[in-house]
Structures are given as structure tokens and as C-alpha cells.
Amino acid sequence: MDDKELILKAQQGDKKALARLVKEYEQTIYNFAFKICRDKNKAEHIMQETFYSFVKSLHQFDGKSKLSTWLYRIVSNHCLMLARKMKNRPFVSMDDDDGLFEEKYAVDWTTLPYKSAENEELKKILDNAISKLSPEYRMVFLLRDVEGLSTEETAQVTELSVPAVKSRLHRARAFLRKELNEAFQG
């Protein structure tokens, strides 16, 4: 049974179909929530709230967008709500991006010991770099580059215009690359 059939059945009150949909997407949603908030407990809480919202509003889903896009929209909103509650955290300003394109350190990345992202030291560097980005920038980078949504889908999920998505993506890519380069320099 594909997603469309499962959604239809779930909308008609079939709890088994609903459970199958939840099971199909729980890993994706948990993983995405973790990538935004970088905390396992918070990610689980966000995942629960996301599926609760999903169940409550399932009758409104009209199938015009992909179910995954719709779920990304719900999980993104929950991530932003949580981030706004913790508003005392300072994030890097992206108003002036000129400095992002200046190379202070020449690092040869090909000689780095990190052959996979499973390396704990690398994970710390990645966590540290992305944590400096505001959740709004993080969201665009993760949806477009990491989760592989199109620019248009990313705009739909984040309720931004396509040029705004492109601008945030451009700065987020440059910022993260610069942060990693500086961290690798040691």
C-alpha cells in the first residue's frame, strides 16, 4: 500500500494505516529535529509534537504536496517554536557576508583524518559550527542541502520566497565551510 492509500485510510479513521505512516516517517523526522536542535531529548519531544500535530490535522491534508514536505513543514515549525523559547542564545549575524569569503587559513582538507562523519571529533566540530547559525539559516541549509528538497519545496516548507531561500542557503554554506576550515586549522 502506498502513502496515498494509507493517508486515505487514515483519514477515514483506520488507526493501523495511521500507525504505518508514523512508523514510515518517524526516523526521518527524529533525525531532522536532531539536526536542528542538536539534542536527543529535545529531538524526541519535537518528533512527538510533530506527529501529534500531524494526526490532528490529517483531515486537512489534500495531497497537493508530498507527505514528506508537509511533515517537514510541521517539524520545522515545532523546531522554530522551541528555538524561540530559548531566545537568550546568541547566533552569528549574517548581515554582512563579505568576511565569509576571505581565507585566513590555508588548510589542506585532503590530509584530514576524518574519512567519515562517524568520527566523534568531527561530529563535535560539525555540531559547534552549525550551532552558531540561527535556526532559520540552519533550517534552509538542512532542508535544501542535507535532506535534498528542491529550492521551491524549501521555500514552501519555510514560507520564504525562493530568492530568500537562495540568499540564506548561500550564506549558510559559506559560513559552515569557513567555520570548518578554521576548526581544521586548529
Binding site: 500507525a19 539536526k35 581565507e103 565551510r177
Partner: protein, 80 residues
């Protein structure tokens, strides 16, 4: 009017914008040529790609018991 020379900074900006795609216009042609000849910009391009790849491969698995807790939270534990 003389066309301004492409700078490394412009190429870096372009890389972050398009990841090397969409190199069709005249200016893009200049950027592509610069990229072919400048090892610094080639390296920059590669490292932007590696940055994205690192984040793509950094995934976390659902913790033990999280699925069961979710089903209970949604009142779906009988349907599993």
C-alpha cells in the same frame, strides 16, 4: 567598456550560490574559466562540497524505546 576581471571572491560567492551549476551566461563563462585555472578556487569548491557531505552523513538513529513512547503518546500502541 572593458569587462572587469573575475575575482576569487566573486567565484567563491558563485560557488556558494550554485555549487557550480548554472554556468550559462557570459559572466558565468568567465567564472568557469577562472575556476578551471585557479587552484585556490578549485579547492574552495571542493571544500564546500565536503562540508555539505559531512552534514549529509551525520545522522542519528531513533533511541531505544522512542518508537514505543511515540505510539503510546499518539494512543496508537495497539496498532503496531
Amino acid at each position: 567598456m572593458k569587462k572587469e576581471k573575475v575575482t576569487c571572491k566573486e567565484v567563491m560567492r558563485h560557488i556558494c550560490d550554485t555549487l557550480g551549476e548554472d554556468l550559462q551566461s557570459d559572466r558565468c563563462e568567465d567564472i568557469r574559466k577562472h575556476l578551471e585555472e585557479c587552484s585556490g578556487c578549485q579547492n574552495y569548491f571542493k571544500t564546500v562540497e565536503i562540508t555539505i557531505d559531512y552534514y549529509k552523513k551525520y545522522n542519528v538513529k531513533l533511541p531505544d524505546g522512542a518508537h514505543e513512547r511515540l505510539m503510546k503518546f499518539l494512543d496508537l500502541e495497539d496498532c503496531d
